[in-house]
């Protein structure tokens, strides 16, 4: 059983290696089937690993071998209740994305390279979520960056190469800068505490680390993680990157990459640097709420559907950060729930935006309209995703954001309650912009000045409603949206024991 995690982490990378070895012509031919097969197998392993995490108290399937003796870096892997949901989410989203890519290969083609990069990215993300060594975490975290940069820069929006390259550059600039500072913070912690092992560090609960050191380390590590999340005001890379990226890139950015930042905060900062977190996190709470309001107001002013969904991520991740910042078990449980919910729902929203873009060539709001009449199934799914995203109770988006707010209420002071009320206002604004979006895109007839027939110009027939491959790639997300909305105890039962452990000494 102990081979499960190394296999899980390395299988996608091995698939990418296989494509490299296969050569250009053969690789091009087998890339998409191979990609789906590898992602499918990875998903099975992820299910297996999640099953083990459910049954085990503490970390399941641990592996610990010395990796770089000179630096004291261990290849220490394990999975528990807070990493398992993200491992499963990553595997499922990559699988859905590759199924979608099988039918719609973004320009300029080159399936072998695109699939290879996606698989490398998956390995990196799974490594991040299963790493129990600070430096291994960092290496895995960084592995994700470069493939995503290529995906945006090469396969991004073909209509606007300048914006695409600019977005890719901004993305790499922000995240690389953040990562460098984060590495400094991780080394500071590891060297001062004498170990890079996250289980050992968690057990110490900050003992042996002076408060000043902790504050510096929280600021350094937090900066790298906050860029990735993204936290206001470090978010300006996100709208551009999300908008320029091809569908599969947007889905993985939203569903996988953004999660790595908030996961890092819960896995590393909260338990290992409790004193530093207590000092710094009230400010994180303020910035999180600013992000919620900023994202919602920005969405009210958007003219492009994809950019709207991108900006909605700033608000949703603001709720995740808000929950963590409260440092209460409720808030952190809420943050982890909202993390998964955002991956599922925003992933679905980006898929649907991709469906529209691949039909009409553009998703400018002024050129869309009347989906309920012309494309009732896409319109219906868009409506479901929108009400899930605005946090309707009974769907997945509610529980996380509600618990984040409850965490702030429980934190008790007047300041936290004022922040809670401001975040609640953000929830109302979120309702407003999603309903306005539906009104424009799904209900209102298309503007006659924009032409009576949708322009086409994508690889799919502009008149077609949801097709078979789309059903295949969307249905896991639709199912998760409803099931996790009606049965919140499934996910909270996994995270709650771990969260109690992580906050126990804090």
């Amino acid at each position: 059983m102990s081979a499960v995690l190394p296999l899980l982490d390395l299988l996608p990378a091995a698939g990418a290696l296989g494509l490299l070895v296969a050569g250009r012509e053969r690789g091009e031919r087998i890339a998409r089937p191979l990609g789906v097969a590898v992602a499918g197998l990875t998903t099975l392993l992820a299910v297996l690993a999640t099953g083990a995490a459910v049954r085990t108290r503490g970390f399941a399937l641990q592996v610990d071998t010395v990796w770089v003796r000179a630096l004291g870096v261990h290849a220490h892997l394990g999975i528990d209740g807070i990493s398992a949901p993200l491992v499963l989410l990553t595997a499922v989203l990559v699988l859905c994305g590759l199924v979608y890519t099988w039918r719609v290969l973004p320009e300029p083609g080159r399936a072998r390279e695109l699939v290879g990069l996606i698989l490398v990215l998956e390995s990196g993300a799974l490594g991040t979520f299963t790493a129990l060594d600070l430096l291994l975490f960092f290496v895995a975290f960084e592995t994700v960056l470069v493939p995503m940069w290529f995906i945006v820069a090469v396969w991004g929006d073909p209509h606007d190469p300048v914006a695409r390259r600019g977005a890719a550059t901004t993305f790499i600039l922000y995240t690389a800068l953040g990562s460098a500072v984060m590495l400094a913070g991780l080394l500071l912690v590891g060297l001062r505490a004498g170990t890079f092992d996250m289980t050992a560090l968690t057990a110490m609960h900050g003992a042996g680390l002076a408060a000043g050191t902790q504050v510096v380390a929280v600021l350094a590590i937090g900066l790298g993680l906050a860029v990735k999340t993204p936290m206001w005001p470090l978010h300006t890379w996100l709208p551009g990157a999300h908008t320029a990226a091809p569908t599969v890139g947007s889905v993985l950015l939203a569903g996988v990459l953004l999660k790595m930042g908030t996961y890092g905060l819960v896995r590393i900062v909260v338990p290992i640097l409790p004193a530093g977190a207590r000092a710094v996190f009230p400010w994180l709470g303020v910035l999180a709420v600013v992000g919620i309001l900023h994202g919602a107001l920005a969405c009210l002013g958007q003219r492009d559907l994809k950019r709207l969904v991108a900006y909605s991520s700033v608000g949703h991740m603001g709720f995740v950060l808000f929950g963590i910042a409260t440092l209460t078990p409720v808030g952190i449980n809420g943050a982890l729930y909202a993390n998964v919910a955002h991956g599922v729902v925003t992933g679905l929203l980006f898929f649907l935006v991709g469906s529209l873009k691949d039909r009409f060539g553009s998703v400018e709001l002024s050129r869309l309209g009347g989906l309920y009449a012309t494309h009732p199934r896409i319109g219906g799914l868009l409506a479901l995703a929108a009400v899930a995203s605005l946090g309707l109770p009974g769907l997945v988006g509610f529980w996380g954001e509600m618990l984040a707010l409850l965490g702030a209420y429980q934190a008790g002071t007047l300041g936290w309650r004022l922040l809670m009320v401001a975040a609640g206002a953000g929830a109302v604004l979120t309702t407003l912009y999603f309903l306005r979006m539906l009104r424009r895109v799904a209900q209102q007839p298309r503007d006659p000045l924009a032409g009576s027939v949708p322009p086409g110009g994508g690889p799919l027939d502009p008149r077609s409603d949801v097709t078979g491959f789309e059903v295949a790639s969307f249905s896991p997300l639709v199912l998760a949206t409803v099931v996790l909305g009606l049965a919140p105890w499934v996910l909270l039962g996994l995270t709650d024991p771990v969260v109690r452990l992580l906050t126990g000494g804090a």
Binding site: L191, L297, A427, Q444, W489
Partner: protein, 648 residues
């Protein structure tokens, strides 16, 4: 057995909706039988539970579901059915069943054998709505209640927007959802306060904590006022009331079910369910009483001037819901529950009649009606039952329940309730004035739609083929006749002062403890209020009739003069919102673009230039942008080295 029925109550309509949606495209013929069967089975379950309640003098069935581990107060997926819940779920399923049957006729348009292409999603949404409302009724945990509460709101949004090709429907749908969501955020925070205060989100745990005095007074008041915000949004009370008249853009059967009988009554139900919280704080009670006093009279006056039959009924609903809240403020949840039940029957009936008229006339404007009594004798006679009940004329249902409300309010004014007496007097005066205005607007609606000359402009103004108006087909007439029975007779349940209290008995802690004396457990009819209100009905109705006849059988509202426009526009509250809240949001939405572009990105571009310069220095190959990454990694490594030195 009872426990199974309680679970089936919300589950059956939900399953029917899922089934109807999945067969919707392949076999549209099966949609109507599916949803009607699901609703009928839920009705049977409710009937069984109601029988149990009446025979045992207060049902009490608990179902404990999974506990949700949040790390905070206890949150469990628990259901509980008591007398109040049993009676209300029977009402909900009855109206839902009537509306599902009626809809099969209503959504079938001239010459079509079957309902149109939007019928499957419509029927499924009505069924989901029914499930959500039943979940609210049987919830034993505040979060279970919130799930049902907001799913209802979403169904209401989609159904108001049923005619999404019309701008009015689109705008009304958004307005309804956003305005109620403002209240819902308040409700959520109120739930936080009460749940954290009690250590559990269980409804009976919270009320028990209130009764035992364990909860701080400040928590109680804050929690109660925040709950009230949610109630005000959902039950369309001042100041969050203005979405309901606009919601009439939805199909009329939806107005009957959601915007008259059930969803908007959920706010009243919530206050009744959490009665202990409200009664424990006089601040909350006074706030509740003032909201009710302002809303009941204001909305009745607005109803007096509406040119549209459905909008008359909508404003009337706002006003009648305020009656129920007035009874609750006065401390009598029995009177409130009584009026909730009779109102559900007569108002759903009135909407179904209005739908029958709209179906054949092709308009909901009163100006397009007139003289329909001779053309539609069946509709006219059941409509008369509904209007007389609404006006509060005994022995029809509303006559009794309205007297029960007035009786309770009179007790409060005399100082026999936890509500301060001055607030009781405000309520009583407002309620008596509303009685007269209610009689006036019901009389006006009847005269304009069913008496007088037929509208000459009917054909000209709408350009549709002129059919002489006729009574509706059996699929619509059946449900109307069904609802006419309780609309006429339900008031007789109030004949004995002890029947309703024992059926609505909650069997919970509210019956004992410090509130046993405060909470009115019998219906009281005061002879002073009864005589006064009968006189006021006669004045309101008679005055309207004389005004109508003296002005040549034209709209009696013309006599209102300049006030008429103000009343038609609902006191122009929406204009106030337009220039304050809406304008503020519109101004603020430009802020993020400015912040991102002109503040944050200035720094980013500055650092980008630095990085590019760094990259130029480090350029060893033609890797282009990768340069930047390598540069950053090197910068990182330098920092690492520094940190390592510092650390040693």
């Amino acid at each position: 057995m009872s426990a199974v029925l309680v679970v089936l109550l919300p589950a059956l309509p939900f399953l029917a909706a899922v089934l109807a949606l999945s067969v919707g495209r392949a076999a549209p013929r099966l949609v109507a039988p599916t949803v009607i069967t699901g609703t009928a089975l839920a009705w049977l379950a409710a009937l069984g539970l109601l029988a149990g309640d009446i025979s045992s003098g207060g049902a009490n069935v608990s179902v404990a579901g999974p506990v949700v581990p949040t790390g905070g107060p206890r949150l469990g997926i628990d259901l509980h059915l008591d007398g109040l819940a049993a009676v209300v779920s029977f009402m909900v399923t009855t109206v839902a069943l009537a509306v599902q049957v009626y809809s099969t006729g209503y959504l079938r348009h001239d010459g079509h054998a079957r309902p149109g292409p939007r019928y499957p999603s419509y029927a499924a949404l009505v069924a989901v709505f029914t499930a959500a409302m039943l979940l609210v009724v049987v919830a034993d945990d505040l979060f279970v209640l919130i799930v049902g509460w907001e799913v209802m709101g979403a169904c209401s949004y989609f159904l108001i927007g049923h005619h999404w090709e019309e701008e009015g429907a689109r705008a009304a749908a958004v307005k309804a959802f956003v305005m109620t969501r403002i209240g819902d955020v308040g409700l959520l925070f109120g739930v936080f306060a009460l749940g954290v205060g009690a250590g559990s989100f269980g409804i009976r745990d919270v009320t028990a904590a209130v009764l035992s005095g364990r909860m701080a007074a400040s928590t109680l008041t804050a929690g109660g006022l925040l709950l009230l915000l949610g109630v005000v949004g959902k039950s369309a009370q001042f100041p969050l009331h203005s979405w309901l008249p606009d919601a009439m853009a939805g199909p009329t059967p939806v107005s009957a079910l959601i915007h008259a009988a059930t969803m908007v009554a959920a706010g009243v139900y919530l206050v009744a369910r959490m009665d202990e919280v409200f009664l424990a704080s006089s601040t909350t009670l006074v706030a509740l009483a003032l909201v009710a006093a302002i809303t009941m009279l204001g909305a009745a006056l607005a109803a007096l001037a509406q040119p549209d039959l459905k909008r008359v009924l909508a404003w009337s609903t706002v006003s009648q819901l305020a009656y129920m809240l007035a009874a609750l403020a006065a401390g009598s949840y029995v009177a409130a529950g009584f009026h909730l039940l009779t109102h559900a029957a007569f108002k759903a009936l009135l909407f179904l009649c209005a739908g029958a008229v709209a179906h054949t006339v092709g308009s909901t404007l009163l100006a397009d009606m007139g003289g329909l009594r001779r053309r539609m004798p069946l509709t006219a006679s059941v409509m008369a039952v509904g209007l007389l009940a609404l006006a509060g004329v005994p022995p029809l249902s509303g006559g009794f329940s309205k007297e029960a409300v007035l009786g309770a309010v009179e007790e409060a004014a005399l100082g026999h309730s936890p509500l301060p007496a001055w607030a009781g007097w405000v309520l009583l005066l407002s309620a008596l004035a509303t009685v007269a205005v209610t009689a006036a607007y019901t009389t006006r609606a009847w005269l304009l739609a069913f008496e007088g000359p037929e509208a000459a402009s009917r054909a000209a103004s709408h350009g549709v083929p002129v059919y002489p108006p006729t009574d509706p087909p059996a699929s619509m007439a059946g449900p109307m006749l069904l609802l006419a029975v309780p609309a006429a007779l339900l008031g007789l349940a109030g004949l004995s002062g002890s029947w309703l209290p024992s059926w609505l008995g909650r069997g919970g802690p509210g019956e004992t403890g410090v509130f046993a004396a405060a909470v009115e457990h019998t219906l009281s009819f005061g002879w002073v209020t009864t005589v006064a209100s009968l006189l006021l009905v006669a004045v309101g109705a008679g005055g309207t009739f004389l005004a109508w006849r003296s002005a040549g059988r034209t709209d009696p509202a013309l006599h209102l003069g300049r006030a008429r426009a103000l009343l038609t526009e609902g006191f122009r509250v929406d204009e106030v919102y337009q220039v304050t809240v809406v304008a503020a949001v519109q101004a603020l939405r430009a802020v993020p673009a400015w912040v991102d572009r002109d503040v944050i990105d200035v720094y980013v571009q500055g650092s980008a230039r630095t990085a590019t310069a760094l990259g130029r220095v480090l350029r060893v190959s033609q890797l282009g942008q990768v340069q930047v990454y390598i540069g950053m990694a090197l910068a990182g490594a330098t920092l690492v080295g520094l940190a390592a030195v510092v650390a040693r």
